[in-house]
């Protein structure tokens, strides 16, 4: 073996050793935290956390709970993911419906679980809750990934297909779908833990069994063991799903060629009709709501009509405005902290194989762990305060920030990298000249998803432990059965979330137009 070849192999080995080191570091930190009795002894050592799972008396209990939660998550992933893919295909194939489907997808992402949960439960029933919320939780990830993937084929390839008389459907099956596969799997990697989180959250709506039930009961009984054990099983399930999908992704890349791993492509442009369409969509949504109330003879106790919600909005705009301000402030702070951390970590990982090795195990764990399900755990560790809401939001943002930055840094075309190297550009130049511009489109997409997640996370966290904000307003009003106010808060959350989403969508489009022109 020649010198350079050996050093490359050496670098690879060093990388593997670093990953091993990262895992050891993670466990060691955990052990140390457990021994130090962090959070008043709430943090258990790994051994103590695993112990209940090994206890023969409880083994069956955890197995049943895991089976039930994993089943709900899998079903939710199948339904939500399937629907999302279908929606993305429809949006791609039927231009007339494109913007409507896009909006519906954004709506699915913006709809806060706190508000959706009760309605799902009231409409679909307690048994369907975990599956339904898991499906809602994955919908957006899969939709965005599929839509991106379907539009990732180069214009030149489309033209070749067109030149041979291939219709839309042919282009879809023979060109766009294969091209989309790696991106879809990437989306599923984020969706799988989200499905688990959704299932657990859904179980808080009165499920008979499941990891979520164990989490809540453990919390109420102030016993850390079942909480940690259930969280551990949950994270393990996420890790397995994540690992399997990473394997699939690797296989897909190998089969489809490494050349199509990344490479962002400009989303289809939207015209000046946006505002008009937005209004039309709102009118339609409100119409559907009114129709549901009237035709379904829905009790005002279950859901008020749009008119009553409107009255409440009109009567106390101040209350809504201050809640909006609070929630946006929290989400913004979380977005900033989490975003900077996520992007920074991704860059550090790119820069140093050792840093990557050390941090990746922790980040994979973070990615695979259904964070929403562990909000109570966060509250316990970080305390019941507004600060914890920001911490939770930051954590929710960190991951998309990291994942998309990482994907972006990998997306620089081989030809461009070589060009930069050939002129003597070092790593720093490569980074600044090729990688950052190539990563920007991905980053913009990640930012949009992260911003949406930040609002949703802030609202959920507020509803659990916040003192002000839209999440608080919703829960407060809901528990006192003040339905117009509760729904007013829910609608406001959705509107705020959509607004944030649209704002970052505009940023994304500008960045894409500049840095990912149609190839």
């Amino acid at each position: 073996m020649t010198g350079p070849a050996r050093s490359a192999a050496g670098a690879l080995t060093r990388g593997r050793i670093a990953v091993g080191g990262g895992i050891v570091l993670l466990v060691a930190l955990w052990e140390a935290a457990g021994r130090a009795g962090l959070a008043d002894g709430f943090v258990l050592t790994p051994g103590a956390a695993v112990a209940p799972l090994l206890d023969p008396a409880d083994r069956g209990l955890y197995a049943r709970a895991a089976a039930s939660t994993f089943r709900a998550a899998a079903l939710g992933l199948a339904y939500g993911g399937g629907l999302a893919m279908l929606a993305a295909v429809i949006a791609d194939q039927v231009p007339v419906l494109r913007s409507a489907v896009d909006r519906l997808a954004a709506l699915a992402n913006s709809a806060p679980w706190v508000a959706v949960g009760p309605i799902v439960l009231l409409v679909a029933g307690a048994d369907a809750g975990p599956v339904a919320i898991a499906a809602i939780a994955v919908f957006f990830y899969v939709f965005v990934a599929t839509a991106r993937g379907l539009s990732a084929s180069s214009r030149a390839n489309h033209e070749w297909f067109t030149s041979l008389g291939a219709g839309r459907l042919r282009r879809l099956t023979s060109l766009q779908v294969p091209r989309a596969l790696p991106l879809v799997v990437e989306g599923l990697k984020l969706a799988a833990p989200a499905a688990l989180a959704g299932a657990v959250y859904g179980e808080w709506y009165g499920a008979e069994r499941g990891l979520g039930v164990l989490l809540v009961n453990g919390m109420r009984a102030a016993r850390p063991e079942p909480i940690w054990a259930a969280a551990l099983v949950c994270a393990a399930g996420g890790l397995v799903a994540y690992g399997v999908l990473a394997g699939v992704q690797l296989a897909a890349r190998r089969y489809l060629g490494a050349t199509i791993a990344g490479h962002a492509v400009a989303p289809r442009g939207r015209g000046a009709l946006t505002v008009f369409e937005g209004i039309a969509f709102a009118v339609l949504a409100i119409g559907a709501w009114e129709a549901w109330i009237r035709l379904g003879q829905v009790s005002p106790l279950v859901a008020p009509g749009p008119d009553r919600v409107w009255d409440d909005l009109r009567d106390s705009p101040g209350a809504y405005l201050s809640a909006i301000g609070h929630t946006l402030g929290t989400a913004g702070l979380g977005l900033l902290i989490g975003g900077v951390l996520g992007v920074g970590l991704a860059v550090a990982c790119w820069w140093s194989r050792v840093v990557a090795g050390l941090t990746v195990p922790g980040l994979v764990l973070l990615a695979a762990t259904p964070l929403v399900a562990l909000f109570p755990l966060f509250a316990r560790v970080f305390g019941y305060s507004g600060g914890t809401v920001v911490v939770i939001t930051s954590f929710m943002v960190l991951l998309p920030g990291f994942v998309y930055t990482r994907a972006g840094l990998e997306a620089g075309l081989a030809g461009h990298r070589e060009m930069a190297r050939s002129f003597g550009g070092g790593r720093r130049a490569l980074f600044g000249v090729v990688l950052v511009p190539s990563a920007l489109p991905h980053l913009a997409t990640g930012l949009r998803i992260a911003a949406g997640s930040a609002v949703v996370a802030a609202v959920v966290a507020e509803s659990l432990i916040g003192t002000a904000g839209l999440g608080v307003d919703f829960t407060y009003a809901y528990s006192l059965l003040q339905m117009p106010r509760a729904f007013g808060a829910a609608v406001t959350i959705i509107v705020v979330s959509l607004g944030v989403f649209a704002a970052f969508g505009a940023v994304e489009r500008v960045v894409h137009r500049r840095f990912a022109p149609a190839p």
Binding site: E159, T162, S163, A166, R170, G257
Partner: protein
């Protein structure tokens, strides 16, 4: 042939690429007809709009003005029947499919029956036997372009649009292909438009040569190539051949400034001298015409000489 209704007619086509700050006029009032069964070559300086015109004919780009009809209808009609094949300047192969399946895919897209034998035969013809199972990223630039050529012949299209199909192919292979490919599409009469850099290649292959001007591209002249077919090497050394190469070269040169004369200090009377050189070369070719007769490549050698002389 002259009495046939044209298969393709391009009428007053103009194309302006509009940016926000600047716009480029790529084509200006282009008229063009392609006779059925004929091969028309399109020559012109780099950036003059050849690719753009080809894409407009294929219906892939919209003309800013004017219209294109194929068989009396919009390009889409013929295209949707899989009767057009385009070889783009970039090969654009699907990286996840093997070479053979990239070629086979064209049949499927055009709505033809799968025909592995034909696929194999074409790959052999373009010199890619043994690479049927390879994937495009594993090929050299010239090999990729040859896959694209095979891919576009496999469907036996009625209209063949070739955009510098031999740009990345070495001259030896190119000459071989120049000889071996035409019979493949002449078997079923195919109307073809070939964008090429090489005037001799154009004269060798075409029934008519359309010469375009520098940007904005206009049709400067249409030069019929009335050399008999099949074009035997002997004819290619004929004065008629060289006269044609000459003529086209002149037409191209007319619209251009005389090129810088580089390290030759005395550059006066370049154009006239060139023509003389071209004629001389042609004469030389003709003189040994009988000796070179056995070799088609020998014929095209003479073209190059003549072309270069004419085009200075």
């Amino acid at each position: 042939m002259g009495t046939d209704a044209p298969l393709v007619s391009v009428a007053h086509v103009g194309k302006v690429f509009g940016g926000r700050r600047r716009s480029v006029e790529a084509l200006q009032d282009v008229d063009l007809t392609l006779r059925p069964g004929a091969l028309t070559a399109l020559v012109g300086p780099s950036g003059c709009g050849k690719s753009t015109l080809l894409r407009i004919i294929a219906g892939l780009e919209r003309a800013s003005s004017g219209a294109v009809t194929i068989d009396g209808a919009a390009p889409d009609v013929l295209r949707s029947r899989g009767d057009i094949s385009v070889a783009f300047q970039d090969p654009n192969l699907l990286p996840w499919r093997t070479v053979a399946s990239n070629v086979g895919l064209a049949l499927k897209l055009a709505g033809r029956e799968p025909d592995p034998a034909r696929v194999g035969e074409l790959l052999r013809t373009v010199g890619l036997d043994g690479f049927e199972k390879a994937r495009p990223p594993q090929l050299s630039g010239g090999m990729r372009q040859r896959v694209a050529i095979a891919r576009c012949l496999v469907t036996r299209p009625r209209l063949l649009l070739l955009d510098e199909p031999f740009g990345a192919v070495d001259e030896l292979t190119r000459r071989r292909l120049n000889v071996e490919l035409p019979p493949l599409w002449q078997a079923r009469p195919t109307t073809a438009l070939l964008v090429t850099h090489s005037i001799p290649e154009a004269v060798l292959l075409a029934d008519e040569i359309v010469v375009m001007s520098d940007r904005p591209g206009r049709v400067v002249a249409r030069v019929p190539v009335d050399l008999p077919r099949p074009r035997r090497a002997a004819q290619l050394h004929s004065p008629e051949f060289h006269a044609l190469v000459d003529e086209v070269g002149d037409l191209l040169g007319v619209d251009r400034d005389a090129p810088a004369s580089g390290d030759a200090p005395a550059s006066g009377g370049g154009e006239a001298a060139d023509r003389a050189a071209g004629g001389g070369a042609a004469g030389g070719g003709a003189a040994d015409g009988s000796a070179a007769d056995g070799s088609a490549a020998g014929g095209s050698a003479a073209d190059d000489s003549a072309a270069a002389g004419a085009r200075a």
